[in-house]
Symmetry: C2
Subunit: 202 residues, 2 copies
Amino acid sequence: MNNEGLLIVISGPSGAGKGTICNNLVKKNKNIEISISATTRPPRRGEEDGKSYYFIGEKEFIDKIEQNEFLEWARVYGNYYGTLKKPVLEKLKEGKDVILEIDIQGAVQIKNKFPDGVFVFILPPSIEELKKRIETRATETKKEMIERISAAYDEIKKAFHYDYIVVNNCVEKATSKLQAIITAEKCKLSRNKHLLNIGGRF
Amino acid sequence: MNNEGLLIVISGPSGAGKGTICNNLVKKNKNIEISISATTRPPRRGEEDGKSYYFIGEKEFIDKIEQNEFLEWARVYGNYYGTLKKPVLEKLKEGKDVILEIDIQGAVQIKNKFPDGVFVFILPPSIEELKKRIETRATETKKEMIERISAAYDEIKKAFHYDYIVVNNCVEKATSKLQAIITAEKCKLSRNKHLLNIGGRF
């Protein structure tokens, strides 16, 4: 019997509300953990090392890439982001479900290594709402904001690689949908074939 | 945008608890309806025409087969069972989700006609529990009981055609799992590609 946890990859444009949904889910379901990414970008106000991200230097990051310590990594807006392999694989073995909140570049790398992963794309309710959310964040320059909006368009166009789409009209509803996806995935035939082996089970 | 309801096919051996789970789900979710099958078998105690089944004569049933009025039909233990096409297609168009509680023979016919259908197999927690449940029903002769237990084995072996497996350890949990499967299926990329068409949507 397979008791391994699920690897859940969550992507979506900035401002779609990925972080809020994931944090909400983790509060309600103690078996889920959010993987903490490593990055070379400087911390934003309020971000703590080892909590929001592992903030590491560029040399250290590149060393880890060379030592094949990343499950996925990408360079975005001139900074490196990546997911360290070891902690994720350990949690999955313990039976914990692990959420990776990563971009499409990273998701493609994961899909090649973990075809059993569950790939969910979070959409904002409308492009107007998306623009508003990115602008309200106000931690970025005007140029960065325009880049993010344009990147959001490009990302949405590439979301065809994902298994599920969740529209974030309402955080509670979107969280319930994400939980339902996890529950349903655990019922999939491909994860439960051992139950049909009558000789083995009964 | 596709507002059609989901067609959900539920199968599983006698005594797995399909009926209890489906009735429980329908009580909680007003958008779901259980399709009523037609049959030529005589009513069991407490079964009402038009509620449990449409009880019809063999000649009428065979006429309807010839007029292609069935979505699926099968002959089981010498009786005919079938799902009439018209009421199901009407409900789906209205946006209702429709549950068909049918056997594997019927499910295979549906899968050919509705590749978008969702196929769920309900398993009893153990073969001992299954035997107990079939024996407790006590509306059948000893010979019929033995036939049902043997048929249950055969059905479980054929459940590889289904999309999901739900083990009925507890009716409430199994009902929640079935609800989660329906919610997740509605988030599947294949049912939501229109949302990624930025030109069309935003």
